[in-house]
Symmetry: C2
Subunit: 219 residues, 2 copies
DNA sequence: ATGACGTGTTACTTACCGGTAACATACCAA
DNA sequence: TTGGTATGTTACCGGTAAGTAACACGTCAT
């Protein structure tokens, strides 16, 4: 099983102090990010890169410039940490929604167009698919606590999008919203399996076609 | 890390012979399935149930009514076995295509309709998404041999579908095919994360709408 | 009978990984 | 100063996983 060597029970090579603030891969410069936050953001990144099962807590802690004990003081278990990263990811998505709403207040059609554009752009940038959906694929144990977070996010996302579609005045807003969600999830998973030149490349066009078919001409 | 207890270095509980032919979960009755084939079909099943990283070779061998040594005599490594299961899954998909073609010879529109219907039915039946796409999500190591199999399958599938769309006489057959693929992948991943009542439920309707929009009225 | 061949069995090695214990250190507030 | 709190360090435990070695057994063709 060619498992990528990422873990090996971290043993810091150097004895020197690792520069009190090395910003821990999080873009913020001298913001003095607390260990807990470094751990969460690092975990997000590494889970995305290696998969949830593909990275160990030790490696996460080390990459966050801290250690396993501190990690376990903040999160009782790896599962807890997983749930937290999913929650943070959900919140990021919520921020995107808020941003769209402030940019195009009271203009449902423009908001829907912005949603497609934002996700399309995100699709170009992020090589990995939807972290939440990926977690659902990886965590098959039916009783895993992450499933609650996943379900919650999916319901919220679907509700918001359906609502937005409804505000455009289209008939069958539910079908429109679900169709767009299928295209989105499909594009994200397809991007992982087939790259950017695969079916994912037509995500934006497919969305526009769909919107047009539902009588929601954008722009 | 609440890992489902499935492996624990298999130790057969009974000493009695396990009935020379217990059919190893493969429907065939007294067909005397060879160990190799039992292993492959069992692995397909268990990978789907627990994920590729979630099940060990020992558990697979035991579930196939054989043992790890025999498994390793047929497949040099777990990675080899993974590739083989993906190849088998690809072939099953190929069989579906052949079936559709024989049922509606020289009728591209009917074939496309049958494709949607078949996948939709498969979506109802199989709780887990596309095994190939799931493998792509789980195996993040860029150099994993399975990626060649995955890519090959995806290219083949896309080619076949694009060809079929082209034969319906529609303009932009590539866009139609890619849109349908996005809907399919999306439905499969959404079914895992949100269940059957989620966005996946509108897969068939979304496909019909798309076909209609591309001037390919089915039925 | 005699091999060869596929298979079963047991035991082992190596390695990783989640999680914990015990102790040391730094910093901040009263 | 004192003491609490968050953090760092090291070492360890138990479990599981991939992969291998050595040997025993059955079957089938010659």
């Amino acid at each position: 099983m060619s498992i990528a060597v990422v873990n090996k029970n971290a043993k810091r090579g150097s004895t020197v102090k690792p520069e009190p603030e090395s910003a821990a891969s999080s873009g913020l410069s001298g913001a003095k990010v607390a260990p807990r936050d470094r751990i969460v953001s690092t975990a997000c990144e590494l889970f995305r890169q290696h998969g949830i099962r593909g990275i160990g807590v030790d490696a996460i802690a080390e990459a966050a410039s801290t250690n396993k004990m501190t990690l376990y003081r903040h999160f009782g278990s790896k599962d807890d940490l997983i749930c937290e990263t999913l929650r943070v990811t959900s919140e990021k998505s919520g921020a995107m929604w808020a941003d769209i709403e402030t940019r195009f207040p009271d203009d449902a059609k423009a908001q829907l167009g912005a949603w497609v554009a934002a996700l399309s752009e995100c699709l170009q940038r992020e090589p990995s698919g939807c972290d939440i959906a990926n977690a659902a694929v990886e965590l098959k144990e039916a009783d895993h606590p992450a499933h609650a977070v996943i379900e919650n996010f999916k319901i919220l996302q679907r509700g918001k999008l359906t609502d937005l579609c409804r505000r455009t005045g289209t008939e069958e807003p539910e079908t429109l919203a679900d169709t767009l969600l299928l295209l989105l999830e499909g594009a994200r998973v397809s991007r992982q399996a087939s790259g950017l030149e695969g079916p994912a490349q037509c995500f934006q066009r497919a969305c526009r076609n769909t919107l047009h078919a539902f009588g929601v001409g954008v722009r």
